[in-house]
Amino acid sequence: MLSIENLHVTVDGSPILKGLTLKMGPGEVHAIMGPNGSGKSTLSYAIAGRAGYTVTSGDILFNGDSVLDMGPDERAQAGLFLAFQYPVEIPGVRSRQFLRTSLNALRKARGEDEIAPGPFLRLLREKLALVQMDESFTKRDVNSGFSGGEKKRFEVLQMAMLEPSLCILDETDSGLDIDALRVVSAGVNALRNESRSMLVITHYQRLLDHIEPDFVHVLVNGRIARSGDKSLALDLEKRGYDWIIAGAAA
């Protein structure tokens, strides 16, 4: 599914990722944890192809093909989805119109016809229920005036609508209260299946109580310093990152 090989990424000339290697199989959920500044968000942007995140060596293979020469739109069309830590406001553009344009862009890339208004509305209602959002929501402008929780639910709604094969959740738990966290996690869990992979980036173990990972990786100074199963996250919760940072430096 996703294979990252010895990835080096610089931002504004500074090296951030320094030889990161990660392999994810279909249907697997991997969590990336790590202290501030370890390169977690850089990893998500590099995979999604954001301008300014320059891969200096290594490769990112998605379904066996390198994505390095693909623009962010082409990567999205190939089935890659990034749930943003800070979803962006698009004033004057209704959420519903945005969802439909986006869905149709992906369908077009797959050689399918545009979705008709009727089936679109049925799909939208079905997925709205998943994240417990009211339909009136989709008449508002994209992320404009949304609360933190609403923005994150809207990200999960998009994920549900677009049905990507790889989901990257970049600190989806940040800014969520307990109830919102539960709703968002339930939405994400409903999207888990044997073919869809997820890369969950988080600071806190508590998200992993709700979205149980198959693997946990600790990112320190631009590299994976340690990998394990979900018990590693519990260890981190108890002991902090220092013992791993010390181990990585040694």
């Binding site: 999604a48 301008a51 623009g71 962010p72 962006v88 004033p91 004057g92 553009v93 986006s102």
Partner: protein
């Protein structure tokens, strides 16, 4: 390096779709203006003496005036003696009585522009008064409108058929000597549209005029006069194009609107005059004076404009709110790409009690475009309880364009209320990346952001026009990102 920068440079490669020249014989006056030219134009139109005198008086005033130079635009001095002041397709000499008599080349031109003169127009509910260079070629649906008492005809015709209305209202909103260009227009105006909506009549269709400058080295000086009598309503649409030419051409129009008690006029413009090439060669100088007078109580005048063309735009559609509780509105999208310069805005002059005005201005600059919003809100001393809301937003694409906002506010009544909001933003990399991560191409992402930015104005346009405006904006921005 960044894809967004590349796209911004690419969307600047716009094509100008309306840039064809129609080959028809036309009668064009030699360049230059003097009293003889003014008299000639008047006599070609077989005008009554009072009209000729009106023109000559205007010409006299023009000679005493000088060009305005306060606008934030730069261009080489215009040689007013090198412009031809009158051009008419020759076949017009006898005047077409119906579409069959119109030069087929002309009709083809309108077809290329997508102007519906035939039955599909009827279905679309649009009556068109098409001004080609200087004369009004054909006016459709006159009969249907006439049965309701609506007058919609070339101004040159109204001078003969409704002299009392023309005498009473022509120059009553925009005085002859209002400015240099209005004086010139008043002296040499070639034609334009005249609309009269009788008391209590709601005009059943959108009235529409399409302007096109075809002849080289000609100026276009049309005049529009719209009178909405008590309790009437009319929606008027205006579109403009010109062929691509190396030299600059002058367009100096005057539009006057009069709304009596409880009347409403909605005036929409989609302006797509040739903007010049990427290096600023050629293009139309669009120096236009548009003003509406809300003379009656509870009357309303609403201007909506989408300005994507012209090398230079100098234009301030305004409202004089004389009647108590009258309402003025101005909704504008103006775009400057490449070397285009636009100095545009509005004036809301509050004279009556409890008058209200709304200004929503959206400026988009790309390439080396230069964009200035200039607006005046004046609360007169009798304007008790008057209110104004102004919102001025600028959107910048790339880092070689500029946007300025120049609001003028004069308040002479302590009960008046004003609100002014202004924002300047760039299409952010965050927004582009977000939309592209959802599968949109960079160009589609830019269009979505720009359309969202303009939404408050587009929704004021009649449906057909809104779609056209949206497409025009997309074409105008092709290559501005990339």
């Amino acid at each position: 390096m960044s894809t967004s920068q590349e796209t911004i440079e690419a969307i600047a490669e716009r094509k100008y779709d309306a840039g064809f020249v129609t080959e028809i014989e036309s009668e064009t006056l030699p360049p230059g203006v003097d009293e003889h030219v003014v008299r000639h134009i008047s006599s070609v139109k077989n005008e009554p003496d009072w009209m000729t005198e009106w023109r000559l008086k205007a010409y006299g005033r023009w000679l005493e005036m000088s060009e305005p130079n306060w606008a934030h635009v730069e261009y080489p001095a215009i040689d007013f003696q090198s412009i031809s002041y009158y051009s008419a397709p020759k076949s017009k000499a006898d005047g077409p009585k119906s579409l069959d008599e119109v030069d087929p080349e002309l009709l083809k031109t309108y077809e290329k522009l997508g102007i519906p003169l035939y039955e599909q127009k009827m279905l679309a509910g649009v009556a068109v008064d098409a001004v080609f260079d200087s004369v009004s070629v054909v006016t459709t649906f006159k009969e249907k409108l006439a049965s309701m008492g609506v007058v919609f005809c070339p101004l040159s015709e109204a001078v003969h058929s409704h002299p009392e209305l023309v005498k009473k209202y022509l120059g009553s909103v925009v005085p002859v000597s209002d400015n240099y260009y209005t004086a010139l227009n008043s002296a040499v105006f070639s034609d334009g549209s005249f609309v009269y909506i009788p008391e209590g009549v709601r005009c059943p269709m959108e009235l529409s005029t399409y302007f096109r400058i075809n002849e080289a080295k000609t100026g276009q000086f049309e005049r529009t006069l719209i009178i909405a009598d008590k309790g009437s309503y009319v929606s008027y649409l205006e579109g403009c194009t010109a062929p691509m030419r190396d030299e600059n051409q002058l367009h100096a129009a005057v539009v006057e609107l009069v709304a009596l008690d409880d009347a409403e006029i909605k005036y929409s413009t989609v302006q797509n005059w040739y903007p010049g090439d990427e290096n600023g060669r050629g293009g139309i100088y669009n120096f236009v004076t548009k003003r509406g007078a809300c003379r009656g109580k509870r009357s309303k005048i609403s201007w909506t404009q989408v300005e994507t063309g012209s090398a230079i735009t100098w234009k301030y559609p305004s409202c004089i709110l004389q009647g108590d509780e009258s309402v003025g509105e101005f909704y504008s999208v103006a775009l400057s790409n490449h070397r285009q310069q636009a100095d545009t805005g509005t004036k809301m002059i509050h004279l009556g009690r409890n008058t209200r005005s709304t200004i929503v201005s959206k400026g988009i600059s790309a390439g080396r475009g230069q964009q200035t919003y200039r607006g005046l809100v004046r609360m007169g001393k009798n304007a008790h309880g008057a209110r104004n809301y102004t919102q001025c937003d600028s959107l910048l694409m790339g880092d070689t364009c500029t946007a300025d906002t120049v609001p003028y506010i004069e308040v002479n009544n302590p009960t008046a209320q004003l609100e002014h909001e202004a924002t300047t933003s760039k299409i952010s990399d965050d927004q582009l990346f977000y939309l592209m991560q959802r599968g949109l191409s960079e160009e589609d992402a830019v269009n979505m952001i720009v359309n969202g930015f303009c939404k408050e104005v587009f929704r004021e346009l009649p449906m057909e026009f809104a779609v056209e405006a949206q497409k025009l904006l997309e074409v105008s921005l092709e290559g501005a990102v990339g």
